[in-house]
């Protein structure tokens, strides 16, 4: 072969050199060029073509791929015996659902809009294999998920696929190389060294030079697993900075990183700055649950000696039937089985004949017992070395110690043996620690060997559960240490699991310590999450804490934590604060009193909200007032038959309005005065109402009156509204009458939908100025008239949506099985505009009113009332007591509804600002306001605008203060099922 520098006719040269001998060929000049160019990968290897060419297989790379596909092909299938039983990743891999988490389009700091939600790639599912698809992602990826969600499995799946099917199957360069690194290795590593130094340590020495060469060359896929497993927050922050530095400017070199992390391990100061596509590993859906159960039992069958063909199918089918039956229909249980780890544990337990666990702690407990029991080792003919209780007594303190030291899977053999020797000395003196370690690893699989002679618990979840169980087993001894660590991410699961343990022995002392610390103020969400894990919440420690503090903020924090409980001692304390100067405490106390007295008097003598007593001469005014109040939704007993109706009044109401007109005074007649005295004596509350044309005369002192409702100048709205509020005011009566449009929740008139218990507040019609001045789409401000309607007191909750799903089999919303969003009292998120419409249609079936989404104008009126306020509660800037906002997009979530009564709107709506964005009926039209300004339309609704887009209102949990303004508008695609979107229902009165 001859280089092109001699541009010669090759056939001519051959003829000249060797006559017609066919055995000689010359490739030279342009022919050589053409031959080379026929092979782009050859061309690319030797000449820089930019991205046009493909590179050649490199023998060293081939060797690495062959090694890696063997090394990482196996997954432990929990419950199938010991540490050396593995199954192939692709054999048990149920494709996980991964979804793109769009960045919210508001600048969280300034509240200014950056674009719109629809511009981001949406919130739909993405196949794992497509996360490097150039159209989706040209940078790195960050995969979030809960413990046991399958994050590591996802990374191993990527590695496996890159090594066996080739990187091009992942839309990567043909010669790209995937490397796996558990990030916990960086917990104590030298962060001054370049990343290839740490990557090399994961591989056999013979690949050392390759890794360094690849690091310099580029075209690498770094699969960096478990950022959260670096226990120390500060260190995790340093590792993030290190990774950012190491990965910086790598577009050129083509280094792509995929980092996995638990939700709780990221956010706040722990952030990666580089270009990361944020992805969520979604909990398993119903179909995936079925697939995983079937796969698991199919794998287990050949591994169990006396299992016959078909034996595996029966328990699998029985389990699937049970999971889809009524016993497991609650959202909380669905959340549990939608974690691949917990579902696998469930398979183990069911196979063993155990009872189906219903709480996370029982999942772990039963699974450990199965793994450590004789059964799990029967397949190998091994007799258990320790009985289950002894084994647990050995493992618990080990887990605690490892957790305290922030260790995970790099525990040396000597360390383990030392621990085992200490424990066995007391528990089983005859047993060799060497044999116990061997048994724990090989036979039970509870301890895994992660690298040669480096061990750790099979799953971090088990370590956390055992650490929690250790704390519980030690009485109060370790509680102080745990209180000190409260709020540290590394300890979150341990604390949640501890609170979830059965029995009160730990709950009370732990809560006493926590409530005496700053925890309730510093980490209220964690404490609330812990309380919802607890099998039973004992009130004692909370009452003690309330009695020991005079700090209203702390009292408010504790009241908020216990919202919804109606224990007498708690309500007695709340009553003391209904007039507190601290607005948050006052609102919470009033809410507690209102909710509980409502509960107590339900079914009591409250078939009507108010009796109205008048003299026959005032019948016309009484009729008008009655009509007005009934339009507010009040149930009235209106009568001029004082003595005749006395018994009915006593039986039907707790409150009586006495109308005082211009003529005779009601109490001037002795029999009527005695009526009033009798009613007051029976515990009813009386209020005098001055009718138009009259004055406000002196009241008879034999009756304790509420302050006058002065309608003497006319039955204008405010006086009527005041009376309406008083009628519904459940507690001490007079308090409701002070202040105009007070935000306290107890003033509202409620409509309760029977199937869901959903509560609606009455929004009387009115005229208001809609819009704002901040953004173009809020301009111009313009006058609108609104007819009265009922509006959901809160956004639709998970509990309410669950009733809908159960009855209609409508598809589950996107976040339905996500633990962070699945509390019954959290607003439902991940329901599209169409889902919301379907919900409304369903709700209408059981109501006289018509349920639908509010229009933008109705929504804004309910939030602003008639006084042009900026936020539902008024004009004060948002704070944590009024709205759920400004939380971390990565690690936080929605709040339960009704937690912030201080943020109630003028008509009693809650959570209107913050928590979730709420769908409105309107089609998005940026210019809608300009088109209708000046006309003062009645109940405007935009039906034409940008096709596919609908209006969102209210701001979300992750938004800034700026977007909580009631005038702020946002648009999104009607199909958007984002985790920041919920909705609220409007009920249109049947006869407006």
């Amino acid at each position: 072969m001859i280089s092109k520098t001699v541009r010669t006719d090759t056939r001519k040269l051959a003829r000249q050199a060797w006559g017609n001998d066919e055995s000689c060929r010359f490739w030279c000049g342009s022919e050589l060029d053409e031959r080379i160019k026929r092979h782009p990968e050859v061309l690319a290897e030797f000449f820089d073509l930019g991205s046009q060419g493909k590179a050649l297989p490199d023998p060293e790379i081939e060797a690495y791929r062959a090694w890696a596909s063997q090394r990482y092909r196996g997954l432990h299938l929990i419950g199938l015996g010991g540490g050396d039983v593995k199954v192939r990743v692709d054999e048990v891999y149920v494709p996980l659902r991964i979804s793109h988490r769009p960045e919210l389009d508001f600048d969280l700091r300034t509240g200014k809009r950056r674009g719109d939600l629809a511009r981001s790639a949406g919130s739909g599912d993405i196949e794992l294999e497509k996360i490097f698809d150039p159209e989706l992602n040209d940078g790195h990826a960050l995969i979030f998920g809960d413990p046991g969600a399958g994050k590591t499995t996802a990374l191993l799946k990527l590695l496996n696929q890159a090594c066996t099917e080739g990187p091009e199957s992942l839309r990567l360069a043909e010669d790209a190389v995937a490397l796996f690194l558990p990030l916990r290795r960086l917990a104590n590593a030298d962060l001054d060294a370049p990343l290839d130094v740490h990557l090399r340590q994961q591989l056999p020495e013979r690949f050392g030079a390759l890794v360094t060469r690849l690091w310099q060359r580029g075209r690498l896929v770094l699969l960096l697993d478990g950022l959260d497993e670096i226990g120390d927050d500060q260190r995790r922050q340093e590792v993030c900075a290190y990774l950012d530095f190491q990965l910086a400017g790598d577009e050129r070199r083509g280094i792509r990183a995929v980092i996995s992390c638990r939700y709780a391990g990221y956010g706040g100061s722990v952030k990666l700055a580089g270009r990361f596509l944020h992805l969520d590993v979604q909990p398993l859906d119903a179909q995936q649950v079925r697939e995983l159960v079937q796969l698991w039992f199919r794998k287990v069958q050949p591994l169990i000696a006396d299992y016959r063909e078909g034996d595996a199918r029966r328990p699998a089918e029985a389990l699937i039937a049970a999971l889809e039956g009524v016993g497991y229909s609650s959202q909380q249980l669905k959340v549990l089985v939608s974690s691949p780890l917990l579902l696998t544990l469930l398979c183990v337990v069911v196979l063993r004949g155990g009872e189906m666990p219903r709480h996370r702690v029982t999942f772990y407990d039963q699974c450990l017992r199965v793994l450590l029991s004789k059964w799990s080792q029967a397949t190998k003919g091994i007799e258990p070395l320790l009985d289950v209780e002894t084994a647990l007594a050995v493992l618990r303190p080990l887990a605690w110690r490892l957790h305290i030291e922030g260790r995970r899977d790099d525990v040396s053999k000597a360390y383990l043996l030392t621990h085992l020797r200490q424990r066995l000395r007391h528990l089983a003196p005859q047993t060799s620690p060497f044999r116990v370690l061997e048994w724990l690893h090989r036979a039970t699989g509870v301890i895994d060997e992660y690298a040669p002679l480096r061990y750790g618990f099979m799953h971090l979840g088990l370590q956390e559960y055992l650490a929690a169980a250790h704390v519980a087993s030690r009485g109060e001894g370790l509680l102080d240490q745990l209180v000190e660590r409260f709020g540290e991410r590394w300890w979150r699961e341990v604390i949640l699991l501890l609170l979830g343990l059965p029995g009160q022995a730990i709950f009370t002392p732990f809560l006493q310590r926590l409530l005496a610390s700053d925890a309730p103020l510093a980490h209220p969400e964690l404490l609330r999450a812990g309380l919802s894990e607890a099998p039973e919440v004992v009130l004692g420690p909370f009452l003690e804490a309330l009695d020991q503090t005079s700090d209203p903020a702390r009292q408010a924090a504790i009241l908020r934590m216990l919202r919804g409980r109606c224990d007498d001692p708690l309500i007695a304390r709340a009553r003391e604060w209904v007039d507190s100067d601290h607005p948050d405490l006052k609102a919470l106390a009033r809410q507690a009193v209102a909710e509980c007295s409502g509960a107590a008097s339900r079914g009591d003598r409250t078939s009507h909200d108010l009796a109205m007593l008048y003299l026959p001469g005032d019948a016309a005014a009484a009729a008008e007032l009655t009509a007005r109040l009934e339009r507010q939704g009040l149930r009235l007993l209106s009568t001029s038959g004082w003595e005749a109706d006395l018994e009915t009044i006593i039986e039907s109401v707790q409150r009586v309005a006495v109308l005082v007109g211009a003529g005779e005074l009601p109490w001037e007649h002795r029999a009527r005065r005695e009526c009033l005295e009798y009613l007051a004596g029976d515990g009813l509350q009386l209020i005098p109402v001055g009718l138009p044309g009259g004055e406000l005369p002196t009241l008879p002192s034999t009756v304790a009156w509420a302050p006058w409702v002065d309608a003497s100048a006319g039955l204008e709205t405010e006086a009527v509204a005041t009376l309406g509020r008083w009628a519904l005011e459940p507690s001490s009566g007079a308090a409701a009458l002070t202040g105009q449009a007070d935000t306290a929740a107890e003033h509202r008139k409620l409509l309760v939908e029977p199937r869901t218990g959903m509560r609606f507040v009455w929004v009387p019609g009115g005229r208001f100025r809609m819009g704002g001045t901040r953004h173009d789409d809020e301009k111009p401000q313009h006058w609108i008239r609104i007819s009265p309607f009922w509006l959901g007191e809160t956004p639709v909750t998970n509990a309410e949506y669950a009733a809908f799903l159960e009855q209609t089999r409508h598809p589950e919303p996107a976040q339905w099985r996500n633990r962070d969003f699945a509390h019954p009292e959290q607003p439902v998120v991940g329901a599209s505009w169409h889902d919301a419409k379907a919900f409304c249609a369903w709700l209408s079936e059981s109501m006289q009113e018509t349920a639908r989404l509010p229009s933008e104008a109705q929504w804004e009126f309910a939030a602003r009332g008639v006084d042009d306020r900026e936020y539902p509660w008024g004009n004060e800037p948002p704070d944590e007591s009024r709205a759920c906002f400004g939380l971390d997009w990565e690690s936080d979530h929605t709040a339960r509804v009704r937690m912030r009564p201080a943020g109630a709107g003028p008509f009693g709506t809650l959570d209107q600002a913050g928590n979730v964005w709420e769908w409105c009926q309107d089609v998005w039209d940026e210019a809608a306001y300009r088109k209708r300004a000046g006309r003062e339309p009645l109940d405007p609704l935009v039906t034409e605008g940008e096709a596919g887009f609908r209006v969102l209102r209210g701001g979300g949990w992750d938004g800034s203060a700026g977007i909580l303004r009631a005038a702020c508008r946002l648009r999104s695609l009607a199909a958007d099922r984002g985790r920041y979107i919920g909705f609220r229902v409007l009920a249109a009165p049947s006869s407006p």
């Binding site: 280089s3 520098t5 001699v6 026929r38 092979h39 000449f47």
Partner: protein
């Protein structure tokens, strides 16, 4: 294969390839890969020892043995070609 290749040369595929700018080792490696991609089996790069014998790369195809010799020269005549081939033909069969 170890990483001995020099910095690749930027080229346009529409123009003649700048083979002269490749390092000697790379030119031989290029030959090796070209032969492989041209469909020969059992391709071996003989390196320095082979080069002395006038064979840089050997391979087989359809039961026949092939020897490849690389030359980068400014001028190359039929006589030069004949001399090279005679050298290869003179080697014992192995």
């Amino acid at each position: 294969m170890t990483s001995t290749s020099s910095k690749p040369v930027v080229i346009s595929t529409r123009r003649p390839l700048p083979l002269s700018q490749l390092a000697p080792d790379d030119f031989e490696r290029l030959t090796y890969w070209l032969v492989r991609r041209e469909g020969f089996d059992g391709v071996e790069h003989l390196g320095a020892a082979g080069s002395e014998q006038g064979r840089d790369v050997i391979a087989t195809r359809d039961g026949l043995r092939y020897a490849f010799q690389c030359k980068r020269v400014q001028s190359f005549t039929a006589a030069d070609a004949r001399a090279e081939i005679t050298r290869v033909r003179g080697l014992p069969e192995d």
